[in-house]
């Protein structure tokens, strides 16, 4: 396949290198002179110098073909947003992946329909939360397109749900239990599943239902 990678920093250069190693055709675009010259030693004609938010730079990189995928991986979120919009809406590129540098800008990418996005900070924070839970409700996965999220809840002895069957719980609308993990084994949660202290419960819910779910399962 043919890929254009915008941004030749650590992320962009490593992605370009990996794509090339897999036998793909790649054009890497880097704006800064020093960085471009260093990249040129390795990537030769496969790196071009320019601002990838400028149409003539994208066109020189072959965006008109169009490429199978464009990766907007610069260190500037506004640049990545514009590259993604231009690629998709002006040149009809079907697959666009954008990097989010500042997680606070995620909402802008969502608002403008740029998806999928990758944010290192958010991924690391999700891992931290999973490995060192600070909260009783751990966010495992955000299904952005579906507007749903999957969370993990640990049931303890004081939880009002301990000893209750799933069907007896007054779960809020927009929240369902998926599975119950007990002594290393997971089972799909059905109406007759009885929760016990020590269970790890997975739930799927609409964002904003966390507090209600917490109240039903943990009374907190």
């Amino acid at each position: 396949m043919y890929a254009i990678v915008a941004g030749g920093g650590k992320v962009g250069a490593n992605v370009a290198r990996s794509l090339l190693r897999l036998g793909n055709e790649v054009t890497l675009v880097e704006q800064e002179r020093d960085r471009f010259e260093r990249l040129e030693d390795e990537f030769e004609h496969q790196v071009q110098r320019g601002d990838a938010t400028e149409l003539h730079v994208l066109e020189r990189a072959g965006i008109g073909r169009p490429p199978d995928i464009v990766l907007a991986l610069t260190g500037d979120d506004e640049d990545n947003l514009v590259i993604a919009q231009l690629a998709r809406e002006k040149y009809g590129v079907e697959q666009v992946i954008a990097r989010v540098n500042d997680p606070r800008n995620q909402a802008h990418f969502d608002l403008l329909g740029i998806s999928p996005t990758v944010c290192a900070t958010s991924s690391i924070m999700a891992l931290v939360e999973h490995e060192v839970p600070e909260h009783d409700l751990i966010h495992l996965l955000e299904l952005r397109k579906e507007n749903l999220e999957i969370v993990e809840v640990a049931i303890d002895r004081d939880s009002p749900s301990a000893g209750k069957r799933v069907e007896a719980l007054e779960l809020p609308d927009g929240a369902r239990l998926i599975s119950v993990m007990r002594s290393g084994r997971a089972e799909i949660a059905v109406g007759s599943t009885q929760l016990e202290a020590g269970d790890q419960v997975l739930a799927i819910l609409e964002p904003g239902k966390e507090d209600e779910l917490r109240r039903v399962l943990l009374r907190r």
Binding site: T53, L55, E78, L81, V82, L86, K90, N105, A107, H108
Partner: protein, 143 residues
Amino acid sequence: MNALIIGCGRVGSSIALQLQREGWDVTVVDENEDALARLGDHWPGAFIVGHGMDVDLLREAGIEEADAVVAATDGDNTNIVIAQVAQKRFDIGCVVARVLDPARADFYTTRGLRTVCPTKTAIDTLMEAVRSCAPTNVARVTL
């Protein structure tokens, strides 16, 4: 009428001062505290230090009550993103973005964004000036 101006450079500050004189309530946002100096010694409006991509800051700056938003930072892409956020997230009817690159200005104009491209204005004005010097317009004096 409330106006929110993002970016207090030469352009942003001049617009802010002029709107204020015309009776608007103006709030100005700039990343750099020193930019306040461009608004003179007695700026009666609000001035908030921060980045215009920050939604909390935009709220603090009163974007929800704004009748007009002007994105006039020195970054084309920053202006393009802020203007789209103002338009789509906050539903502001009057949003104008300064975009120096004519190609990007054209593209976003076709997508329904109101852009102002000083580069294009300069090109047009200069072309007009040069054309007016062309031989047909120059009075020939024969001695």
